[in-house]
Symmetry: D2
Subunit: 301 residues, 4 copies
């Protein structure tokens, strides 16, 4: 399939520096499962004191598939309102059809995935090109195979990196060989890769990523910013010690127990997490203990 | 997890006979990718002459994830308007959150699947129970792992079969052992299983299914109704010959080439198929030839 | 890749009728994990009274990968010695390299699978063709994806079916659409398909298989021969009732709990099962209860 | 399950330093597919001039499943004979049964995998413990999921690391989060992790691995030793540039095209590769060109 190309200069002009750590923020709900904007606001005030590069709203950890369109708009608006001027906001979006995705104006665009067997490089290149052509804001590709059941193929990423309005990739798959290769193959394009999970954040920095969107940053945000600082200043020995202590807590709030665990851990660390929307189930007693153990055995609780 | 149970009598009273063949109808688009209601209407008139039990609208083959909510409502309304009085209409639905799914009033309810790792038996039982409790129409479970990346687990199906407002399962996975087991374990509940694809339709009848929702019925509807007749009347030898000739055409319009191939084949057989919505790609020349070959080598073209 | 073809007449001449039920026999061990030939002999005498078509020795259920070459030879010899004259013996074999496989003279040839990513149609066609060319006995292809992690692709089976010394396929994958298609595409070759598991035996007969190699036949051999009789005589209603009661016991001694469960169930039904060789672990207490439950809830215990 | 434990002192005493780069050497064959010991010897003389820590013989890249037992012994003997005194030799082994594995005296022990669904932590811990108990040489665990279809679970590795005769793990899966976690959880045991592929070698060093067993070292051995030097001396910027240029050549000789490609590339770089044993197929013309492209586009040809 054919793909659009332009001169490099456009992107250089529009350069948006993504480097740093972002929590993909959770959405607190009331007991009746409505969005709790008061608690959201309190979380945001606490996050404002952590040296994040910015926030991600409407990512997987925000339970965006469980929000109505109106709620999604309201949540983005609320976050934007309280965001410090020096912070970036990335808002997740992504519909199955290209035309619906084009209508949105958000910038972290997840892959269409329902017809996953048909979403090869050609379809994704066409999809993201149209979205980026029409988007008023720079677009970040978003590959999250644990949820979508598919990756943006490496060759599609490399080709899309040439688009002046596509500035980066959030890669949650964690294949470090692929991340290294994408950095290598896009080095002429000022394309920026963000690690999509804290478990491989240090390794991602090592092979050339510039930051991370990490669920665990909702809980241990300061620590992840510290890990960033150690990596970018070349203090790898210290970084390794810190990274290793973060793996188990991260795995437990992502792959192992997911959003309900993330929200429970947030409560322990002074944030509002609360329940998830149905059909997402609350943790069992045994899961809660496992969660606590994964934090305490690494010295965080 | 706990689940609702009622006396058997409720369901017996409300008995809805699902037995028969249903095409999950495709959605024709204009050259500009808008829904083409005129062509849809013409297809429906042709389908009215085939001895289908009814129609499925907003299934995977209808590209429902690519339609807006308004379009989905309009398409269902158009189909209902032209439906002969003696035919059933099953309308696909299914949102990620339980609360949004409850608000819909359609009856073929696909699994929530974005957080697939968390959608175990317990979550699905709770989800479907709430949906069925509040639904004014009988609910059919819809398991389509090729798209959703997950099945409704057998134990969840068996438990949900006890709900008086859950009358059946459309199973597109094609695991015939599982289908036989589900029929066996729900035999006290008057629960009806529909095969989700023409490739295993005869085998599904053999182990106790009562019908099929088959993409291929958009193209070879009369032939699938004939296969049904042979199976239910015990003419298995003739059924086998017909079934075998349908496997390759079916695989090519489902697993192998998908909706664009289904729509192309519809054109060859006198229906309106047309293009898909982006990002679904049109067939390549080679794919079109393969498609034609899979029909012609089995004597259909 | 190219493949050998000959005239049909050769195979017709050599026609070997595979139709019927075969237990893939288990290998009893002593407490010290040595082969217990005495107990094996006692099992064989009991099997001789069941209307099996024959026996399979050195299949997955015989723990063949755990036997030394010498033990494999001895076990085959022991079985052959006690085999009634009217029964067939299929002996499993299959090495990773073509040259080693050629040297064996057994007939149920499992796929080489260590380099599974490289074992495409071309490699398998070449491999099986060389094996069949040199084999003094007819060859049966053996596809067991749960253990090998790969299938013999359908197109490879269809091409290999033309070889005069390849007479059939034992398919343990259970994809009934594929089984129907293979029967269809090989109908000019007098190629015989055997179901590799009791869970889909009736459905396999329905779409054209001629028999089954079923682990469960080690335990409920008479019942499986009865199921065969009902299927081949067209008594499908009775067959369905019997088939359904066999699914759970079968799943538990294959996919769910495997060989240790098969051997435990054999003990309950008057055969010698005993322990497995390390590293295969014995059942836990909970597993044993689950196993018993799966037999008793279907009326077998 | 229970597992053996001893005091830490034993292992400290027996400490074997595994740190460094190892080529898992290929096995050259003659035109008749016999082992070509002359060519093997010539390769070994060239490898002797590269600062490898040692060699691995009978790994996946040596086509060990295609060698007879006698050939395996002869190849190991030949390599040992020509090995410089200051180099380590790791010889692959691993049978399906524990008793057969115990009888071998080699040290790089691949997982038993035929009954993969049954090879959980408990079975593997028991298996490796018995092997290590009786082995006269230190044992290295060997996890190669692309071939075996299964990993040694992390918890099993952590527990086995306490065994005084188990000194390390070769991990070919490439999950960098897992590698970091294993290093973290075994830090009290002087347990050494080797990356099983060049694609993630730098990232593995970054999170605490001590070396690598890399197919690509058969071709670009000096370059991989240089990458090692850059990593262990903390010159990460230079390491990154070199690492990135190695990813595509590595992927093509491993995951993408496998052993036939490795052997072809060896020819281009002055080593003897030659053909593989059947059923492994030679490269097609298109594959050979892709292979060449993956080396030349990164500046190696």
């Amino acid at each position: 399939c054919t793909v659009w190309t332009r001169t490099q200069s456009h992107k250089a002009a529009a350069r948006l520096d993504l480097a740093g750590i972002y929590p993909p923020i959770a959405t607190p709900f009331t007991a009746k499962e409505d969005v709790d904007f008061q608690k959201l606001e309190e979380n945001l005030q606490k996050y404002a004191k952590i040296p994040f590069k910015g926030l991600v709203v409407q990512g997987s950890n925000g339970e965006y598939p469980y929000l109505t369109e109106e709620e999604q708009v309201e949540v983005v608006r609320a976050v934007r309102r309280s965001l410090p001027a020096d912070k970036l906001l990335m808002a997740g979006s992504g519909c199955e059809s290209t035309r619906a995705t084009v209508r949105l104006t958000e910038n972290l665009v997840v892959t269409p995935c329902f017809y996953k067997a048909k979403m090869g490089s050609c379809a994704l290149i066409q999809h993201y090109t149209k979205v980026a052509d029409s988007s008023p804001v720079p677009v970040v590709l978003y590959s999250v195979p644990a949820n979508t059941g598919m990756e943006v193929p490496t060759d599609a990423v490399v080709q899309l990196a040439q688009h002046p309005n596509i500035v980066g990739l959030k890669d949650s798959g964690g294949d470090i060989t692929r991340i290294g290769l994408i950095v290598h193959k896009t080095k002429m394009q000022d394309f920026q890769v963000l690690a999509g999970s804290a478990g491989f954040l240090m390794a991602a920095y090592c092979v050339g990523a510039v930051g991370g969107v990490c669920a665990l940053a909702n809980v241990l945000g300061g620590e992840l910013c510290e890990l960033e600082r150690l990596c970018v200043s070349g203090r790898w020995e210290e970084a390794r010690v810190l990274q290793q202590r973060l793996i188990e807590p991260n795995t437990t709030v992502t792959r192992k127990l997911g959003v309900p665990a993330l929200k429970q851990a947030m409560e322990w660390f002074g944030f509002h997490g609360g329940a998830c929307r149905s059909p997402m189930q609350p943790l069992t007693e045994a899961e809660t203990q496992q969660l606590r153990q994964d934090f305490s055995s690494n010295g965080w609780l």
